[in-house]
Symmetry: C2
Subunit: 101 residues, 2 copies
Amino acid sequence: MTLFDIHQIDETIHGRVRLGIMAFLAASGTADFTSLRKHLAVSDGNLSTHLKKLEDAAYIAQHKSFAGRKPLTQIELTPQGRTAFLAYLEAMSRLVSASAM
Amino acid sequence: MTLFDIHQIDETIHGRVRLGIMAFLAASGTADFTSLRKHLAVSDGNLSTHLKKLEDAAYIAQHKSFAGRKPLTQIELTPQGRTAFLAYLEAMSRLVSASAM
DNA sequence: AATTATACTTTGTTTTTCAAAGTTATTTGT
DNA sequence: ACAAATAACTTTGAAAAACAAAGTATAATT
């Protein structure tokens, strides 16, 4: 019986919204603030807070620019972010394997 | 590109400690309070709170008895709990598949 | 008999999540 | 042209969640 160790879980990624952000970015490479907010169906304040947390962990980078004269925030996974997300996925794979019922 | 929907995640299970409880119970059938606390390496107060939350959701049942005169709490997965955990695992499998990088 | 340990629950604090309100600039309607 | 509405965020405050310290009750140890 291979037991699953909860301490393998990276809490920075594990949160529902941040997990959605990471999965989206892993699939798409980059995203802008608005499409992320629409895709995840969260409030803008909430998204902003979670992005900041991921940025503080250096898992994403936010590039603020202007599209014409409107602010545009483009978000991308950093190499560390990709590595951490891979590790998270592996931990989840282990959970799934260990728990197959 | 199959995108992962964060609203599929059952927050009652997703929390790190509760996920550990569910995985342990899924593997072992039942457990007592003390072995769960040791395995998860959490404080007793913390464990008590999470168990109550899972009990409120009817995902586990707690049977309080005495071993000699010492209180003994035995915890088991309910059928609903097993079903919900299976659904959670499937959601996580989808995440892993969708995110394979 | 007094201290230490076991098995919890309750309470209070810290941390996290989330949305309402605020900011700044833009577009639309009249 | 001027007000009103929209866009793209950030900041702030409130609600919820997580956690550990303290409390309760009994048992074992010295």
